[in-house]
Symmetry: C2
Subunit: 314 residues, 2 copies
């Protein structure tokens, strides 16, 4: 029941000796979702011990080089390793010529299907769903068309309380109905869902917001997407600290405080920061700025794993 | 008077946690020549402490991804760092569409001129020269069109032996003539170049051979290019060890022994190996195979610097 976020790259446009360009993995149970794919992603994936064969879906926020230059190498390597299963890529439509060029230039070099789904939404919209997770996209505010992604576990089927099975001598038909959340009418009584079942765990959710300048609607959208419950984990870019707020505005980026204010407004459980400007040797000031607003802030480093444990509700 | 070779990436097609794709720097005095530019080159350059601003010339051996996927990121970063000076790139003509695509896709993202010179030779030919070094290209034998590069310091101007200046009371005119290697006729005698001058140092040379399968002509060409003197340093790919010789032939690559035989035949001073298959966890067997044929062999690691000191001839 893993639900965890791994940061493979925390640099912004200019990488440093310690910081790689943007790349992240959200692990939802057996699936690895790759979010952005900066130069060096394939090496960072190996360092993190993440199997390429379990990456089927790649989400691209925008077509700046530090978010996409690792894709040709990753796809080539997948192919050299014998992959035949398709890869699904989601991103702004401007990503398509880039992908088309590579697939044509590499020719036989990519021996599996690559399916691209252009993302083009003015407000949060369901993008794709799998058996246990739904993924939404929403526009961010950056120099070019950019999307954030929201991952939400689906509501689990209800469990029947063991002691009630015998007490009410439940039939399979009745149990199936109750698991779907529907009351069961008997001749002498009504079997109430609330009494006989429980939700086994609280679905978890995660939002990815990079690159973006702050805008008021963002926190509203995140509240809506997390269905007004807790947003377990928010990843938000924090390219600058408070001393460089003007630069942040000029380049359509956020400061650490901007990210923290968003986390506060959308009732995040945890805030993880990244995408740091190369001007900062360390993230002390970034962390300090953000924690002043939102104490549950963490500055990501390469290879960090932020785990959201499941909350059993028994 | 530096003349040194730095290996930034020693992987072949599949990088590993320790090994980056192909990228190398030949330093000739104040100039850094970049040879191949695999994914992660910009980060490896930073690790090696090499200033991007002193890289003006980039040599591409062939258009396989592990030799070129680092170029878009490197050029973008150069531009973000404010570069305005042109970059000169040399490589097979198949590289041009790749370069053209990026320059057009990145638009304003590359704010300096990029000049591409297609390489298309059937035998060793002078490609470009600078004030103290000449660079030649020669074809290699690989799956696709591939070139090796040969760097040779120019012959230095002769020095006048100090004690002869006074002994013969030399004029500036006479000294200038002698430095050019020409005898000077006086009324009473002939001033002999051999007696009055000396060559201050022996020009150094370096050859880059990757990717290639072995072929007989290669050593002949390298002898010719080094003017039948010592080839100070030969970098030769050694993708496989002797146990995988069949794979080497199948994939148009060399074994360590192939590389060593080439070094022996062309009278190399030192042989440096790289481009190792990811199947080998370490290079022990590669080194053993090569040293059995050519003892002065070294297996490159990321960040290694192979220095060729100048031989003063005073």
């Amino acid at each position: 029941m893993t639900f965890s976020f791994t940061t493979l790259g925390t640099a912004s446009a200019l990488p440093t000796v310690e910081r790689y360009p943007s790349a992240h993995i959200l692990t939802v149970r057996e699936r690895f979702f790759l979010i952005d794919c900066g130069e060096g992603t394939q090496i960072q994936l190996k360092r993190a011990g993440i199997s390429f064969t379990r990456i089927d879906n790649i989400f691209i926020s925008h077509v700046h080089g530090d978010h996409i230059f690792g894709l040709p190498g990753l796809l080539s390597t997948m192919s050299l390793m014998g992959r035949t299963a398709p890869v699904f890529i989601y991103g702004p439509s401007a990503f398509k010529p880039y992908l088309d060029f590579f697939i044509s230039y590499l020719g036989d070099g990519i021996a599996f299907p690559v399916n691209f789904t252009p993302v083009s939404y003015k407000e949060p919209s369901m993008l794709v769903e799998f058996n246990n997770v739904e993924i939404f996209a929403f526009p961010l505010r950056h120099k070019i068309e950019t999307y954030g992604y929201f991952f939400r576990e689906k509501e689990p089927a209800l469990n029947i309380r063991k002691e009630k099975i015998e007490a009410y001598n439940l039939t399979y038909y009745e149990m199936a109905r109750l698991k779907e959340g529907r009351n069961v009418e008997r001749e002498d009584c009504v079997l109430q869902v609330e009494e006989l079942t429980y939700k086994p765990y609280e679905p978890r959710c995660f939002a990815y917001c990079s690159d973006t300048m702050p805008f008021a609607k963002l926190a509203d959208w995140l509240c809506e997407l997390s269905q007004y419950r807790k947003l377990d984990l928010l990843y938000h870019e924090a390219t600058y600290d408070a001393s460089d707020k003007e630069l942040a505005r000029k380049h359509f980026h956020s400061t650490a405080a901007d990210a923290a204010e968003c986390a506060l407004k959308c009732h995040a459980g945890k805030l993880v920061l990244g995408h740091y400007s190369s001007r900062y040797r360390n993230t002390d000031k970034i962390l300090e700025d953000a924690r002043a607003v939102f104490p549950e802030t963490y500055c990501a480093k390469e290879g960090d794993v932020f785990d959201i444990p499941v909350s059993r509700l028994l």
